[in-house]
Each structure stands twice: as C-alpha cells, then as structure tokens.
C-alpha cells in the first residue's frame, strides 16, 4: 500500500516481459503508479527526468545498461529527493549482493522473487522516502527561517548585508553600478503608539509587499531592522537611479495602507547611494554613508530621497523631485 492513498510512481526496468507484466499487475493493484521500461538506458532517462519515479525495481541484467550502472548514474545526479532503488537478480552470491549494494542500490531481491516479500520490501522503501521527505522539509524550513525575517518574510539583515557585499564586488568587477536604498517609514513609532503593535506589524508587512512590487524580480529587498529596509538594485543605471528610488518612495504613499485600525496614510524617507561613486569601499562604509543620506532625508522634512555623494561624504545632494500624481498629497509627516 502506498502512503495515505497517494499514488507513488514506481519504475520497473526489466527486459523479461513475463517478469515485467507480473510486477506491473501486482504493483498496480497495490496502488502504485507503474512506469515500465525494458532497458537500462531508458531507466536512467526516466529516473533522472523531472518528477521521475521515486521508487525503482531494476533488473541486474538488461540491454544497453545494467542495473548496477543505472544505480550509479542515478546516484551521480545528487537529486534533492532521494530515490529508493531495488535490484532484482538471479545472482545470489555474497559478492554479487555486495557489488549491487555498493553500486547505490538500497535493497536486493533474488529472482524468482516472492511477491509478498517484494511488496513488503517496497513498503519499507516508501517509509524511508517519507522519512527523507520530512527531513528535507524540515531542513528547508530551517533554511528559510535562518535567512528570512519572520514578520515580513523579506530577507533578514544578515542575508541582505551579505548580498550587498557580494553585489558591490560584482558591480566593481563588471564596472556597473548598484543602487543601494535605505528606506525608513516616517513616524512609525507614532503608528505603534497610536494604534498598537499589531497594526504596526500590518503596516510593516504591507510596506514589504509594496517594496517587492516596486523592484525587479532580481533586485534584493531586506528588513534592515525595525522599520528600516535595505533595497539593492542590481545593475542600475546611475541616470535612472533617482527615479527608481522615487518609484519606491511613491509605492508607500500612493495609497493608504489597509489595517485593522482603518486606512492609514504613510510615507517614507530614503537614503540613496550609487556603488559607482564608492568603488572599492567596504560594505560597512557604504552602509554608513547611505545611513547618513537617510538621515539627511529625514532632516529635509521626510517623504523624500537624498543621494550620498562620495566626493562630499557629509553633504547630500537633493534629488530632483518627480511630480507625484495629483491625487496623492505629498505630506511632510
């Protein structure tokens, strides 16, 4: 019986048509989705295909490629989802069994096989596959939680800073520019104090979603801390970086955020830095400078973008304002 009514796909690779037919019928009755082939080359193709069978019964002696070589080819793929391989053979010496298992097979059954024993061994294989799936799922969940912010599901601070470091090196090597945006929600503390932290969390989640929508799929968005977000725009033309930053800024203010406390209008402030102006500088220094640019945006009354200039690190160039839609009030909140 397959697990929980699931139709687990199983490959039968055997050039003996009688054996193949017997297995097809018996395993079909057990609830498996049976796929058959009569030679080893086709078995490799099927097992290494996308969504290929997770279980396989492989005859040892087959045309073109034998069973042990099929096992070796499958194991060489290092697929994330483990495949349980069972060799069938009339070879029954200890050396043959050892050789078969060393090729990567999980189990070994001698022909002519006892059907009940074979089915029991396959059920053991299904249990191992289920266990492996649970382990992979747990590992992926841990990997996700180690790299993403729990509240917003954005990349967490460690990951976004690490990615920024790699992007700075890459952009310098390729003589391209990366735009770094440090964004802060204006007066966020007031939202928390007035409406409570649950509403504050709703705002953070919505802001994260808007930032993701405002950038390209290959840009990076991470939660830098509290209500601060770090956005890395890869390969961003310096001439268009200001308008890109304005787009990100507008994504916050162009419509109110729907929360359990009602609609809330929000704005943000952005410090912008172009890597081409800061070639070869370490990531810590770049972050410090973009933080100063963000501070300059706050000092300038918020709801605006300020560009960090390498030549004059303590001064910040005013980015020409882009006309916002008339329906949206550009508030200094």
């Amino acid at each position: 019986m397959c697990s929980a009514g699931e139709h687990l796909k199983i490959l039968i690779a055997d050039d003996d048509i009688i054996s193949r037919t017997l297995l097809e019928k018996a395993l079909g009755k057990e609830g498996y989705e049976v796929v058959s082939t009569e030679n080893g080359r086709q078995a490799i193709e099927k097992l290494t295909a996308d969504r290929g069978p997770r279980l396989a019964l492989l005859d040892w002696v087959m045309p073109e490629v034998n069973g042990p070589d099929v096992c070796r080819a499958v194991r060489a793929q290092h697929e994330q989802h483990y495949q349980y391989l069972l060799l069938l053979s009339s070879k029954e010496s200890k050396a043959d069994i050892v050789s078969g298992l060393e090729s990567g097979a999980d189990d070994y059954v001698t022909k002519p096989f006892d059907l009940e024993e074979l089915k029991a061994r396959l059920r053991a294989g299904v249990r191992i596959l289920e266990l492996q799936d649970h382990l992979v799922e747990a590992r992926e969940s841990m990997r996700y939680h180690a790299t993403h912010d729990n509240l917003t599901s954005l990349l967490n601070r460690g990951v976004i800073v690490n990615l920024l470091g790699m992007e700075l090196i890459r952009s310098q090597r390729e003589n391209r520019s990366t735009a770094i945006l440090l964004c802060d929600i204006d007066h966020f503390k007031k939202i928390n104090d007035t409406h409570g932290h649950l509403v504050g969390d709703q705002v953070l989640r919505e802001v994260s979603s808007r930032f993701l929508s405002a950038v390209r799929s290959y840009d990076f968005v991470g939660r830098y801390g509290g209500e601060e977000f770090l956005i890395v725009l890869n390969n961003c033309n310096p001439a268009s970086s200001a308008s890109r930053a304005e787009q990100v800024l507008r994504s916050l203010s162009n419509r109110p955020v729907s929360t359990s406390a009602g609609l809330l209008s929000i704005t943000g402030s952005i410090g912008l830095l172009l890597s081409i102006d800061w070639a070869g500088r370490p990531v810590e220094e770049v972050l410090h400078e973009v933080d100063l640019a963000l501070y300059a945006a706050k000092q300038a009354g918020r709801n605006c973008v300020r560009l960090a200039k390498s030549q004059i690190p303590q001064q910040h160039v005013v980015v020409p304002a882009i006309e916002l839609p008339v329906t949206v009030e550009r508030r200094k909140s």
């Binding site: 048509i17 009688i18 054996s19 017997l22 019928k25 002696v61 002519p112």
Partner: protein, 119 residues
C-alpha cells in the same frame, strides 16, 4: 530420495499470479507470442557461436521460465547460460536442444493449466 523437478509447478505459478486467472492467461499468451522469435534468435546465436548472445538469451529464458513455474525448463536455460559463460561452444548446442525439449514438454501443461483456470 531426490524429487524430480516438475515440468510445471502449477501451485507455484498460481501463487505467483496471486490466483489472478486473467493474469495467468495473459502471461501464457505473452510467452507463446514471444517464444518463436526468442528461440530463433537463440538458435542463430548457437549456430554462429555468438557467446554473449547465448548468455543473455539463456539468462532471459531462465527468468521467464522461473516466473512461469517451470523449474525443469528454467534449469535447462540456466545450464545454457553457464555453458555460455564458460565459453563451452561445443556444449551449447546440446544444451539448446535440451532447453527446446523442456519447453516442448512445458507448453501443453502450461496451456492446460491456463485452460483449467479458464473454466
């Protein structure tokens, strides 16, 4: 006292198909259909001394006949496979004839068995 192996071990064959009468008929039909071509191919290999082909064919017959509950014919196929592996070209001819004889004895019993379960 040593028991002579049966030409057809009907009890084992029925157990192997889990008493699925339809499946048994299907297997017998497949075997009858495959047999002439496989025998011709094996005969060619034997006549031309194609040892690798003899070994593979002997192995395939051994597996098929074992699954059909035919211990004597399976044993004859196993002997042919072994002689091929040893390169005993002078002995594969008689071993092939022995296999043909065993299959000749088997076929009526197999068909009779299929007919019995057919009723």
């Amino acid at each position: 006292m040593t028991m002579t192996p049966l030409v057809l071990d009907a009890a084992e064959l029925l157990a192997r198909v889990e008493n699925d009468r339809e499946l048994l008929r299907e297997l017998v039909a497949i075997f009858k259909k495959q047999l002439p071509g496989q025998i011709d191919s094996l005969r060619n290999n034997v006549e031309n001394g194609e040892i690798p082909g003899i070994v593979v064919a002997g192995h395939t017959f051994k597996g098929m006949l074992s699954n059909l509950g035919a211990p004597r014919a399976a044993a004859a196929a196993a002997r042919l496979e072994e002689l091929g592996k040893k390169g005993a070209t002078d002995k594969v001819g008689p071993a092939f004839i022995e296999l043909q004889n065993e299959i000749s004895l088997l076929m009526p019993e197999l068909e009779s068995c299929a007919a019995q379960v057919n009723t």
